[in-house]
């Protein structure tokens, strides 16, 4: 097996996790930047639609590194998918598969369930729930919490911040409640 074939395989957690962790010192040492991604959404608001709201009145250009960073993530997604894609189907745990199948999600061939994440669903109830409503919660929730998985669960916890522990527990709790109580209802609604 050559190196490219090896890279094309899904990366195990013990390779991916430490690499993600290295983002913390990389950003700190390259330019004294604290790792955080959801802040980019705020900078986009400040740059495009500040609408005289005090929360969006600040020098977003000083924070533009964050926009370069997320542009890079987008580009990285492109590179990984178009040049380094896994030739095989994703392996999803059997118990998750059967739980999801009973809720109507049955296509386990891609990274995302094609029944939901399909451009033809944009103007449907599925799109409204899984793109518009879900996206709104991400943007509203992360800013209300002052950070997301990167800013709190990785950067904040790495720096031993109590507030980030509270936030991380809340993220997980919200996700658990949603997965087990709201998601079955939502999937039934759109099936």
């Amino acid at each position: 097996m050559n190196i490219i074939d090896l890279i094309r395989q899904p990366w195990p957690w013990y390779i991916a996790g430490p690499l993600i962790g290295l983002t913390v010192p990389a950003l700190l040492l390259l330019g004294n930047k604290s790792f955080g991604i959801s802040s980019s959404l705020r900078h986009i608001c400040a740059a495009v639609i500040p609408a005289n709201i005090s929360f969006f009145k600040y020098d977003w250009k000083k924070e533009s590194w964050n926009l370069f960073f997320v542009a890079g993530i987008t580009l990285g997604g492109f590179v990984a998918n178009f040049f380094l894609a896994n030739p095989n189907a994703i392996v999803v745990s059997p118990s998750t598969q059967s739980a999801l199948a009973s809720l109507g999600v049955t296509d386990f061939s891609g990274l995302m369930p094609s029944e939901i994440f399909n451009a033809t669903n944009i103007f449907s109830l599925k799109g409204l729930i899984f793109f518009v409503f879900g996206g709104f919660l991400i943007g509203f929730g992360t800013r209300y919490a002052g950070g997301c998985t990167s800013g709190h669960a990785i950067m904040g916890l790495s720096n031993l911040q109590w507030a980030s522990l509270v936030a991380t527990i809340s993220f997980m709790l919200g996700g658990l409640v949603c997965t087990h109580f709201l998601l079955p209802f939502l999937l039934e609604l759109v099936s």
Binding site: S40, F68, G72, L75
Partner: protein, 173 residues
């Protein structure tokens, strides 16, 4: 001057100023010297590497997030746990050996202070995470990997951030 004073007084009155500074700790830029477009390209490169890891470790997958919230796989817990361990060790080393930045500045990380927003906002984000299978980072990586419909999710997330900024002084913190 008077106007400025009034503005400050009202800002302090509803705790706006404190909160604004608090929130500024997320993704904060503590570097004193300004950076050019070319200088900013290094963050683009870090982003590219990061995006590749996101996709290759399948963190961008809706299924992996479902497995995590159903406790059916160790993968996501392993990723987050080991990322955290490396992050923690790096910050400890940087502080211990007073390692300075590329431009010779002292590394400085703003504190994150607790407010109730971390609970309310955290729970709301958790719901969004489970529905979309993405946190803000993977959103960008998903779009790059060709799931263009996720562009709608991103636009809506920007909208959600905007609505938060608009309602902020009326929300419990």
């Amino acid at each position: 001057m008077e106007k400025l004073k009034n503005r400050f007084a009202s800002a302090i009155h509803d705790g706006d100023l404190d909160l604004l500074m608090e929130d500024g700790s997320d993704g904060a830029n503590q570097q004193r010297t300004a950076e050019s477009f070319i200088g900013n390209l290094k963050y683009l490169i870090v982003g590219v590497l990061f995006g590749v890891v996101f996709v290759k470790a399948e963190i961008v997958s809706w299924f992996r997030i479902q497995e995590m919230f159903r406790f059916d796989s160790f993968h996501m817990f392993g990723v987050m746990g080991s990322a955290l361990a490396v992050g923690m060790l790096s910050i400890w080393l940087i502080k211990k050996f007073k390692i300075s930045t590329l431009s010779g500045e002292e590394v400085s990380i703003p504190e994150k202070t607790f407010n109730k927003g971390q609970i309310y906002g955290g729970l709301l984000f958790g719901f969004g995470w489970a529905i979309t299978g993405a946190c803000p980072g993977p959103l960008f990586a998903q779009i790059g990997s060709g799931f263009l419909a996720v562009g709608i999710t991103l636009l809506s997330a920007i909208g959600g951030t905007w609505v938060y900024g608009w309602l902020r002084s009326r929300l419990p913190h």
